[in-house]
């Protein structure tokens, strides 16, 4: 089922009130989720919450927002304790966050950006051929869906603001793929992990797009905690993620997300992102 933003928000509101929970004495841990491809997989989110509650023995609240910026704001406002965010927001807020864990995709903590076009435009060889076309971005704070293509254009000596005739944001990689598949946008830069994973789940949409090229590797979107989170909570949550591979339920969750597990990551994994941000005067 395809969800519009409106129905999705309604579903989120419903999520917050529906299932009866075990009465845990401890305070609620609030976990923000990035609108990755699991954006529309509510069943999956519910499983995650149950898993975390069982492991941490305390109530968990999953918080979803439409844009990356909103999740970032909530972290800054200390309304979230933990969050799974894109690499770009992590680097952007690096000073206010602690790295909890980094997912393993194809057994490595990396992912790439794919430049995609519609299947019938597969003669396109690289980004330079998209001059004057309509280009879709994922989110202003998306690494692969915004920063990467703009950085690439900058490297080519182009002005990202003038190179395309029109750009717009779809606020999720999944929508990005759909925009290109429908021909609304001529091209887009999309999270390679999302494209690959969705290709297995929704080939009827993803199959209508064609990956022209892949970027170099970047650190995979990490699990982060705000600085103020209690050490005990931090360690508990970190151990939970790192240990997911060890139990069957955790493995099943990882499999649903097409991930291999989590590891203790180092902030240096994201130095290249920092570098690109600096090129645009950020960070």
């Amino acid at each position: 089922m395809k969800l519009t933003r409106r129905t999705f928000l309604g579903a989120c509101a419903a999520l917050a009130v529906t299932p009866p929970r075990p009465a845990f004495p401890a305070t609620v841990l609030r976990v923000g989720m990035t609108p990755a491809f699991l954006h529309t997989q509510h069943g999956l989110l519910a499983k995650w919450r149950e898993y975390m509650e069982a492991k941490l023995k305390r109530p968990i609240e999953i918080v979803q927002r439409d844009s990356y910026r909103e999740t970032m704001d909530l972290l800054q406002l200390e309304q979230l304790d933990f969050a799974w965010i894109c690499s770009y927001p992590y680097v952007y807020l690096r000073q206010q966050l602690r790295l909890v864990a980094v997912p393993l995709y194809l057994s490595r903590p990396f992912y790439r950006a794919y430049l995609i076009v519609s299947l019938k435009n597969r003669h396109i060889k690289d980004l330079s051929q998209l001059r004057g076309k309509v280009f879709a971005y994922a989110d202003p704070y998306s690494l692969t869906g915004h920063l990467v293509p703009r950085y690439q254009l900058r490297q080519m000596g182009e002005d990202p603001e003038k190179f395309f005739s029109k750009t717009f944001f779809t606020y999720s990689h999944r929508n990005l793929i759909e925009a290109v598949a429908d021909g609304l946008a001529y091209g887009a830069s999309v999270d390679g992990y999302v494209w690959d994973s969705l290709n297995a789940l929704k080939p009827e949409i993803v199959g209508r797009t064609f990956p022209v090229s892949a970027s170099r590797e970047f650190g995979f979107p990490p699990i982060v905690a705000r600085l103020g989170v209690a050490e005990a909570d931090f360690v508990a949550v970190q151990n939970m993620f790192i240990g997911m591979r060890q139990d069957q339920q955790g493995n099943s969750l990882l499999q649903d997300l097409n991930l291999n597990g989590f590891l203790h990551g180092l902030p240096s994994l994201y130095d290249e992102v920092d570098e690109m941000m600096r090129a645009f005067g950020e960070g």
Partner: protein, 486 residues
């Protein structure tokens, strides 16, 4: 056309009925179809206008904040799988900006973003001018010769006009939907026809067949009297039923008339025969009396030779036989005679009973005559004797005859019934003629005499001979009116 009108009702009635049924089915279905097409279109336009207004309202903020994807999701909503592809299914939705460029469309391949709408097709070019007008109302545009319907709704709030939402509907969808319902209507009409035609045909036959029977009989009327029409062939009160009854009535009247004519001819013939017979008898009787008197006188002379005497005796016997016959033919009923008494009737019984016994025939007797009747007793007795003798002769051994003599309402009625062989039609036709029934037992004048007497007394004699339950029954009934007893 003439050929059609000359057809038999057997074909014409069902044919006209069928034509009516087919015609009605066609007219009704085509009227309904035309209406349904109009309704289909107005429904479509109403839905389109509602949808356009709703969508334009939500589109306003998306366009205002340049949220292309949101605008795309809004206009894409009607294309979700749930809505199917009914007649209301829009072909494309296009959001145009103030300059007439495509802001977003549901069909980006053909109607790409930023393209100048007017330049995409001549059809769009003709509309661009009207669409770009910054009116407030939703407009329905139907360019001549176009296969599309356009519904244009301005995207605006207060004074801010951001662009226009254009809903493009294909008339082909309308038409194919129309053809589909036309097909269904044709099918239903065909079904109705298939169901009604046999009924119509049956009904036509029901009306036509009785009419045909009537016609066949009417055509026979000139040649002979046809049979009655069986009432169960058409037992209703409508005009045809009345025609049937009128026909049967007419037929009965014709039969009665024919019967009366036959009887008249019969009695006229009998009367003529009677007159002739009586005339001849008189003519013969007068010289006969003279001859007998002369013969008698001659016989009283003494000098007759035995041979002459023998000749005279021979002549006398012959003349006496002629006199008997002539006398029988000369029925004089009104000869002066005393009134009829009950005893006269009983005397007849006394006379007949020995003869009946001799032939082994029993006699049932009922005599209700009481007061004297002013009828010549000898004539009445002669009739009764004749009828009873005939009955005894006609009966087989062991049979029974009955005589019922009543006097009511100034009419004497004598009914004599025997159980012998019944009379043939031919016998009945000549029954009352002289010598008609002559056989070894007599010269057959008995019934003729009865008839003559009855007629002369102003009465009548009738015969009924019929076979009932295997036994014959032949009844002679004499009715004679009488005045007050003298």
């Amino acid at each position: 056309m003439r050929f059609l009108l000359n057809l038999s009702f057997r074909y014409k009635v069902p044919l006209w009925g069928s034509l009516l049924i087919v015609g009605t089915a066609l007219i009704i279905s085509s009227t309904l179809l035309l209406r349904s097409y109009g309704e289909l279109k107005s429904d479509l336009l109403r839905d389109a206008t509602t949808q356009g207004r709703t969508m334009a309202t939500t589109l306003f903020s998306a366009v205002l904040h340049d949220q292309v994807w949101r605008a795309y999701e809004i206009i894409k909503a009607p294309f979700s799988r749930e809505s199917g592809d009914g007649p209301g299914q829009v072909e494309s939705l296009v959001v145009l900006d103030q300059k007439g460029q495509i802001y977003v469309s549901t069909n980006p391949e053909r109607l790409p973003m930023l393209a100048d709408f007017a330049r995409l097709s001549p059809e769009f070019a003709s509309l661009a001018g009207i669409i770009s007008q910054t009116g407030r109302e939703t407009r329905v545009l139907e360019p001549e010769g176009s296969d599309h319907l356009f519904v244009a709704t301005p995207i605006r709030e207060e004074q801010a006009h951001l662009g226009t939402l254009v809903q493009i509907y294909s008339k082909k969808v309308l038409r194919s939907r129309f053809l589909k319902s036309a097909g269904q209507a044709a099918l239903i009409a065909a079904l109705v026809i298939v169901l009604l035609l046999p009924i119509g045909w049956y009904w036509g036959q029901r009306t036509a067949v009785p009419l045909l029977r009537l016609t066949e009989r009417m055509e026979e009327l000139g040649r002979r009297l046809p049979d009655d029409l069986a009432p169960e062939l058409y037992d209703y009160q409508d005009e045809l039923g009345r025609l049937y009854r009128a026909y049967n009535r007419t037929l009965h009247q014709l039969r009665e008339k024919a019967q009366i004519e036959g009887q008249m001819i019969h009695s006229e013939r009998l009367a003529a025969i009677g007159k002739l017979t009586a005339g001849i008898a008189h003519e013969v009787n007068n010289p006969l009396v003279g001859m007998l008197t002369a013969l008698d006188t001659l016989r009283h002379h003494d000098e007759l030779s035995p041979r002459t005497l023998k000749t005279l005796t021979l002549l006398d016997r012959g003349l006496m036989q002629i006199k008997d016959t002539v006398g029988a033919l000369l029925v004089e009923a009104k000869v002066k005679s005393r009134d009829l008494l009950s005893q006269d009737v009983e005397d007849v019984r006394t006379l007949i009973e020995p003869q009946a016994r001799e032939r082994g025939v029993s006699l049932r007797w009922e005599n209700q005559v009481q007061a004297p009747l002013s009828l010549p007793s000898s004539s009445v007795r002669q009739m009764l004797i004749n009828l009873l003798l005939n009955a005894v002769q006609a009966s087989a051994r062991g049979g029974e005859i009955s005589a019922t003599i009543t006097a009511d309402d100034a009419v004497l009625s004598m009914v004599v019934v025997n159980g012998g062989q019944i009379l043939t039609d031919k016998q009945i036709a000549h029954l009352f003629e002289p010598f008609a029934n002559a056989d070894e037992r007599g010269h057959g004048l008995g019934l003729w005499v009865c008839y003559q007497i009855a007629r002369q007394l102003g009465g009548n004699i009738e015969v009924e001979s019929e076979s009932r339950d295997g036994a014959g029954r032949t009844a002679f009934k004499v009715t004679i009116p009488f005045g007050a007893p003298a």
